[in-house]
Symmetry: C2
Subunit: 220 residues, 2 copies
């Protein structure tokens, strides 16, 4: 007898993710699973997003970290509902961890819920948590070949945000090559270039969020 542990784990995860999704549907939350390598700028993007959405759409955040509450502390300054999940040694969030946060959030007071995953370009892409879309950030300091080397992350993500474009001139990152590589593994992927520190491109990101929230709230 052969036990496929990974398959069992993923099936259990999918079941709980479907339950989460049902909950989100009732309250019309647009739910994003935000992923990237460590330090690509997930929390910085959320800080900017909280600023720019204030008074327009209500943001809520679930932050996953192996240890420390630093990211949640940064987010909480923006006076938005946020929950910290400390995973201990787990290298990704799964549907059950996200489910454990939901009773502590007033989902009917949230328009867009972002689940900020553990910084990891590999494992988080394998686990759905009940999201509508996966969004990933690639920073230009990581290199333009990353879509080919970590294809699952790019295949699974509906949107690739290329961050830190203010550093482009100091690196050998080729923007066109990066986009071509991402489209090689996922032809339909949306791509937005931003700089969180300079504010470049954030209007396109807010437009993406607004449009996808409208679709969700309007019923797809």
């Amino acid at each position: 007898m052969k036990i496929n542990v990974m398959q069992d784990v993923l099936q259990a995860n999918d079941r709980i993710a479907a339950e989460n999704k049902q909950l989100f549907k009732k309250t019309n939350n647009l739910v994003l699973n935000l992923m990237s390598s460590p330090g690509a700028g997930k929390t910085s993007l959320l800080e900017k997003t909280a600023e720019l959405l204030a008074g327009k759409l209500r943001l809520g955040v679930i932050v996953g970290d192996i240890e420390t509450t630093r990211d949640a502390d940064r987010i909480s300054k923006y006076n938005i509902p946020s929950i910290q999940l400390t995973t201990g040694s787990a290298c990704h969030l799964d549907a059950n961890m996200v489910a454990s946060a939901l009773p502590h959030m007033e989902l009917d007071k949230i328009d867009i819920l972002v689940v900020e995953n553990v910084g990891n370009l590999v494992c988080p892409a394998e686990f759905i948590v009940g999201e509508d879309y996966k969004v990933m950030i690639l920073s230009v300091t990581e290199g333009d070949e990353k879509p080919l080397k970590y294809p699952m992350m790019f295949k699974e993500s509906s949107l690739m945000i290329i961050n830190k474009i203010d550093l482009l001139q100091y690196t050998n990152f080729n923007l066109e090559e990066a986009k071509a590589n991402a489209r090689k593994v996922h032809p339909g992927i949306d791509i937005i270039e931003i700089s969180c520190t300079k504010g470049t491109g954030l209007d396109a990101w807010i437009a993406w969020l607004t449009e996808h929230h409208r679709k969700k709230a309007g019923g797809r």
Copy 2:
């Protein structure tokens, strides 16, 4: 009955790692397990290392990647023994994967064997592969708080290389804070600051390698 899958996996891994270590001992190889986030500069460091060690110490490399042979292709230009391990979906190298490469390497013609792990700041730190030391790279674009957020990687590594210090002036990375954070989770960790693109600090890295090879070959 409770089955601790992870514990069984790690025990099996430790057994194979010990066998690898026995092999390395016979041929006096200094073996390093090189880890970092995606794009922190593992392959660039190995390219520089191959250049600088040429004619002094014989370098060999085992490169782990989820997909593509790009890193191994880059390394092979330096005319050093190198093996590519393509992990498929595995987010780290384990002892068995490394063992599978060893029959294809002439270990007695190698002084320093570097196992370049999959780009991931989490999972690789949990699996020994038979190495003498774990070495990790943190790039300044990732942020100075990373040792607190991903402590296991820093606890397990004997040496932290801080890379891309040429980009320091364009980031809010605080070098002293990063070092203090690393020493908080691992007081005895060695730290070397480098820039692979500018060549800064590579002499200290080569000195570290030479010294640790001397210790190994002299019998610790």
